[in-house]
């Protein structure tokens, strides 16, 4: 569905310095610099996949997404989406894709969302019957009923995002580009959005490519993740495998029936947390079996669980490694 080979995207931007003197100087001579937003990225995504796109700010995620949507021309390399070259922005291509940006809205600000619905029905030339069915479906999935008649400016951020999603999906696109769709939303609204994206993907077999700052989004939604850093793809595969690779250690969570000396825990591995009733110890993958056996034998345990390190930590380490390399 999506084919990208050796994509490269550079921009030239004006470099600005603070202060009055620098501003005056820039009237005469404007310093430019090249920003290498995407250096060399190749991947391919099959129809119906849900893929998460991870990376720190400025890593090139949004740029890649915009190239895929046809908004930006690649500097070098080939890109194909649904059999089209996105930069041609062919009618057939635009009918099949959608882009949702968490920070940009297409709802008409002072009119009710239903008006934007009708507008998009006309723009995408959606047949009446299909339109009615889609609206009914989206209304049910997102619980839009009470929202459609109120001016968009009166809706909360979460309500607006739900309508934003519905508007973007009215024409039943086959490819969804979601850029930070959950930004600023509260936890339960994030879950709603995630659930909806998954339901849409399953029902229509659509391909989903999503960027997010919230690891939870990616973990819950995307069986496959791609990690981009400084314009290069540094990982492409399943999330658990990524975690294993970055942090080849486990966290053993211990609950005690009576207080345990820190010294006894240090014998197992690195102590992350130590309390009266509970402790967390970090243990390498290879040493896990021995450590668990030892804990069971020597400590007054009530409970023992083994977990992966938290996702946010994994990401932090991942990008820290990328920097060091």
């Amino acid at each position: 569905m999506i084919e990208v080979s050796h994509l490269k995207k550079w921009y030239r931007v004006h470099r600005r310095q603070p202060g009055l003197a620098a501003a005056l100087r820039s009237l005469v001579r404007r310093p430019y610099e090249d920003v290498k937003a995407v250096e060399d990225v190749s991947f391919s995504i099959a129809a119906g996949e849900r893929v998460g796109f991870l990376g720190p700010n400025g890593a090139g995620k949004t740029t890649t997404l915009k190239v895929l949507a046809g908004l930006l021309f690649p500097t070098e390399g080939q890109v194909g989406v649904a059999g089209f070259r996105p930069q041609d922005r062919a009618h057939g291509f635009l009918q099949q894709i959608t882009l949702v940006m968490g920070q940009k809205q297409q709802l008409l600000w002072d009119l009710p969302p239903s008006e934007t619905f009708l507008l998009n029905r006309a723009i995408y030339d959606i047949p009446r019957a299909q339109y009615d069915a889609t609206v009914a479906e989206l209304t049910e999935l997102l619980d839009l009923g009470p929202l459609l008649g109120k001016p968009a400016r009166q809706l909360s951020l979460g309500e607006r995002m739900k309508c934003e999603l519905a508007v973007a999906l009215l024409h039943r696109p086959k490819v969804l580009f979601l850029d930070e769709p959950t930004i600023g939303l509260d936890v339960s609204m994030q879950a709603t959005v995630r659930g909806f994206v998954r339901a849409y993907n399953e029902r229509f077999g659509a391909t989903v490519l999503l960027t997010s700052h919230y690891m939870e989004d990616v973990a819950a939604l995307c069986p496959r993740v791609m990690v981009i850093d400084k314009g290069r793809l540094i990982y492409d595969g399943a999330l658990p495998e990524l975690i294993r690779r970055v942090r080849p250690d486990k966290r053993v969570i211990l609950r005690f029936s009576k207080t345990v000396e820190r010294r006894d825990l240090e014998a197992l591995g690195t102590v992350v947390e130590h309390g009266d009733a509970e402790a967390i110890v970090q243990v390498s993958q290879d040493g896990l079996q021995a450590a668990v056996a030892r804990a069971l034998a020597s400590l007054p345990l009530r409970d023992l669980t083994v977990e992966d390190p938290p996702l946010e930590e994994v990401m932090r380490d991942l990008f820290a490694q990328g920097r060091a390399a």
């Binding site: 921009y11 908004l71 635009l94 940009k104 809205q105 002072d110 009119l111 009708l118 507008l119 006309a122």
Partner: protein
Amino acid sequence: MSVRAALRAYPQFLKTGFASAVAYRAEFLIWMFSTNMPLVMLAIWAAAARSGPVGGYSQRGFAAYYLCALLVRLMTGAWIVWELTMEIRQGVFSLRLLRPIHPLWQWSAENLAAIPMRGIVAFPVVIILLWLARGELSHDWFFWLLLAPALLGAWLLYFLVQAIIGTLALRFESASSLFEAWLGFSNILSGYLVPLDLFPSAVRVLAVALPFRFQLSYPVELMLGRGTRVEMLELLAAQWAYVAFFFVVTRVAWRSGMRHYAAYGG
């Protein structure tokens, strides 16, 4: 992006445009009330004509001229240049580009759909005009027949110029200043501030040839019944030739703007 698809969507564009004109009615009224320049100019000319006609215009003649100018300005409004520059700045413009119909279609519909709202303010002007200056208006039905395409042409000129300058905002940080410059020239050379036939002949020759005249002075001339039928038909042809020219420029500017946008991003 076929024209047929755009035309099919057009009625809905008009409906949505009307709905948003209604939603912004307060702003609309204020905008329209602030279109007062013709009246300001009328004040000085009426004072000048107290002691007798100036250059063929009596006090009543001036009243007729400036009321017609006000009417034309009220009925041919466009504001896409502001919308374009704002959307480009905010980055919402990208979302518009992803739709399978050229954005200019929707903007044109939005601007046209506001005409009923504009009519509310323009109507009293018409009444005053008919009451105060009926003797000054054209008696030839043919001129009034020409007025419809002339007004459409005037609006299209205004709209296309705004589209061209707004498209430049893709390259320059603020193209709205450029539009202000256009407005400045247009105020003088379109007959908005001073009837073109009162200018010294050198300026008049220039003003008559430039496109500004067709934005305002020409429809006003029709309403006041200046010139002959043949002359007015020729002017209509000239106006639409300018429309065609600006249409081509709009296309070129849009294409090149898009290329720049796709290379540098927004």
